[in-house]
């Protein structure tokens, strides 16, 4: 018993240290503003990573939400507040993706430029569910995301006119890479049409499906904060049955348990469906890896879906 207590004590210490280190890293960020770069803070890395490519050494980009972090449930901590405080310019996705942080951004926008990049997209190009709620996962539509990034770059140009040409040049380079990626994605059309069904944990892939002609089924709604009901699981199994879907996918930021329940449930009804692999939906991969970049994670998704769905047809 005493031993256990000791171990617990150690753990508490470790966790306390974690909290402390999180605080101190926030303070570090505040010091960097002295090096003459523009401090850009974004929520999701899907905005931050492309901007750091475009901004090059003129920008200091920090994304609040790291790998595997779920933006729907994210709540700002004290250290996040400090980071936001030190920022010169802030970008977030908007469209209620960062549901718990809207109020904070509204407050901050009184004192510094804050842009919801998703809300610059014309409404008619946005997807809505049957209740009229806008799907915020717009980075899965390469064209829309290009528009959103464009709006962000415009904002940066406005903030620092002397860097405008530099940003413009880098932006063109980056958009060219996006165009290549779009070509690469055309291979998704090779999947037999009847099998072009994407089953994932939550409704993040609506834009992806619209762009590449894939029917998308999510267990959970547009946000991850609702509990998955029993009917949701059953409905998904029914769809798998109907379309003979060969594989379903888990997402890096979502509990894979419910998708596994779907697989087991389908199995007990005599349908063999495999786990197609892990997709990046709301969060990207580890920093420094291929999947840690916007283009890299998009390519990962394309390849994973392509392999899993076309394979099963055999």
């Amino acid at each position: 018993m005493k031993n256990v207590m000791k171990k617990m004590g150690c753990l508490f210490l470790i966790s306390a240290l974690l909290v402390l280190s999180a605080c101190s890293s926030g303070q570090e960020a505040s010091k960097r503003s002295k090096d003459g770069k523009i401090n850009v803070v974004t929520t999701i890395a899907q905005i931050g990573e492309p901007l750091s490519e475009i901004g090059g050494d003129r920008l200091n980009v920090k994304s609040l939400m790291g790998p595997s972090v779920d933006p729907h449930l994210y709540k700002a901590t004290q250290s996040d507040m400090e980071t936001l405080e030190e920022a010169d310019i802030i970008f977030y996705n908007g469209l209620h993706l960062e549901a718990n942080m809207v109020e904070i951004f509204e407050k901050i926008s009184e004192s510094k430029p804050v842009l919801a990049v998703g809300e610059t997209i014309p409404e008619e190009s946005l997807l809505k569910d049957e209740k009229g709620v806008v799907d915020p996962h717009i980075w899965f539509d390469l064209d829309l995301w290009q528009q959103a990034l464009d709006a962000a770059v415009e904002q940066l140009k406005e903030f620092s006119p002397e860097d405008a040409d530099y940003f413009e040049e880098n932006k063109k380079k980056y958009f060219a890479r996006l165009a290549d990626l779009k070509k690469e994605a055309e291979k998704l059309a090779d999947i037999p049409e009847s099998q072009r069904v994407l089953v994932t944990a939550h409704d993040a892939f609506g834009y992806f499906g619209r762009m590449h002609g894939i029917k998308v089924v999510g267990l959970q709604g547009l946000s991850t904060d609702s509990e998955i009901g029993i009917t949701d699981i059953q409905d998904t199994i029914d769809i798998i049955k109907k379309y003979k879907v060969p594989a379903v996918f888990i997402e890096s930021s979502i509990n894979e348990k419910s998708i596994k329940a779907v697989i087991e449930g389908a199995k007990s009804e005599g349908i063999n469906v495999t786990l197609g692999g892990e997709l990046y939906s709301d969060a990207m991969g580890e920093e420094g890896t291929e999947e840690g970049t916007y283009i890299g994670m998009y390519r990962h998704n394309i390849n994973t879906i392509y392999e899993a769905l076309s394979e099963g047809g055999k």
Partner: protein, 306 residues
């Protein structure tokens, strides 16, 4: 409407919540007579840091390891309560309140820390707070079934011992029953019951299923044995019915519906229960009044004749 019952997923969830309800109803009766209903709530909350720490140590979500983490954490909470009670002047309910909030706060703190570390598919941890019954699979059902049966069996095999332990512990000790052992066993099966239900209803609502069925059962019987059986039935019915109702709607949460059904059963018992139910009491009072009236009017009449 009933075709939903034919689905294997629904069956798994239904079966496991029912089994949990039965175990919780049984165990709740013991907690009721130990006058420790709040204890189950405190221990349920105390389980949360264990779940998160198990995840931190392992780096992945493994239900079995998390259950062990939850048990250890809840047992530490229990020993804290025991320690505070025996060696300070702080009363039992204050001790339980303290452990409840301290451990839950610690759990939330750790959860926030984990939420920020990379590489963890951490969102599964959140579901331990409110429960996520729908994503249960066959292996979960097996685990729950074994643990729940163990709890039920322990209560029924040693039924006579539980009765004397709860009614008159000092006398039980005089007969040679080890109170230390009984206390240990009691805490162990209480924690086991809590751990079974954590996945289905979460740490916050779990106490409801340990408390409500036993209180409801009290309105129906004057026998300890029957009280346990009725409480188990109520718990099982709440689990199964709550799950069934939640399966009727799209995206309806299971845990809260189970609690709502349990509460409905409680109100039924409160009004119509045959032992001290409100309706029965009212009728008895009315009958008594009538009897008194008849007597007095008779008395008056006889007087009038004279």
């Amino acid at each position: 409407m009933f075709t939903i019952l034919l689905n294997s997923n629904t069956q798994w969830v239904l079966f496991s919540t029912m089994i949990f309800g039965i175990a919780a109803g049984t165990m709740g009766c013991l907690a009721y007579w130990k006058r420790q209903s709040l204890m189950s709530d405190a221990l349920a909350h105390a389980a949360l840091p264990g779940v998160v720490i198990a995840f931190l140590l392992l780096g992945e979500k493994n239900l079995f390891v998390m259950i062990i983490g939850a048990s250890i954490s809840a047992l530490i909470g229990a020993s804290f309560i025991q320690w505070i009670r025996s060696s300070t002047r702080i009363s039992a309910d204050t001790a339980m309140g303290m452990v409840l909030s301290i451990f839950f706060g610690l759990g939330i703190m750790l959860l926030t820390v984990v939420n920020r570390t990379s590489g963890g598919n951490q969102s599964g941890l959140d579901s331990f707070i409110f429960g996520q019954a729908a994503s249960m699979v066959r292996s979960d059902v097996t685990t729950m079934l074994i643990l729940a049966l163990a709890v039920i069996l322990i209560v029924f095999i040693a039924f006579k011992e539980w009765k004397i332990y709860l009614f008159d512990p000092e006398f039980a000790k005089g007969l040679g029953l080890s109170l230390k052992w009984m206390n240990g066993l009691y805490t162990t099966i209480l924690v086991t019951t809590i751990v079974i239900g954590i996945q289905a209803v979460g740490v916050i609502l779990i106490a409801a299923l340990l408390i409500i069925p036993s209180v409801s059962a009290r309105y129906w019987t004057q026998s300890f044995q029957r009280m346990i059986i009725i409480s188990a039935l109520f718990g099982g019915a709440a689990g199964a019915l709550g799950t069934f109702i939640s399966a009727l709607g799209r995206g309806w949460p299971t845990g809260p519906f189970i609690v709502i059904v349990a509460s409905a059963l409680f109100f039924l018992s409160l009004f119509f229960g045959k032992e001290k139910g409100i309706l029965v009491k009212y009728l008895q009072l009315k009958m008594q009044k009538r009897l008194v009236n008849i007597h007095t009017s008779k008395a008056l009449r006889t007087k009038g004749v004279e």
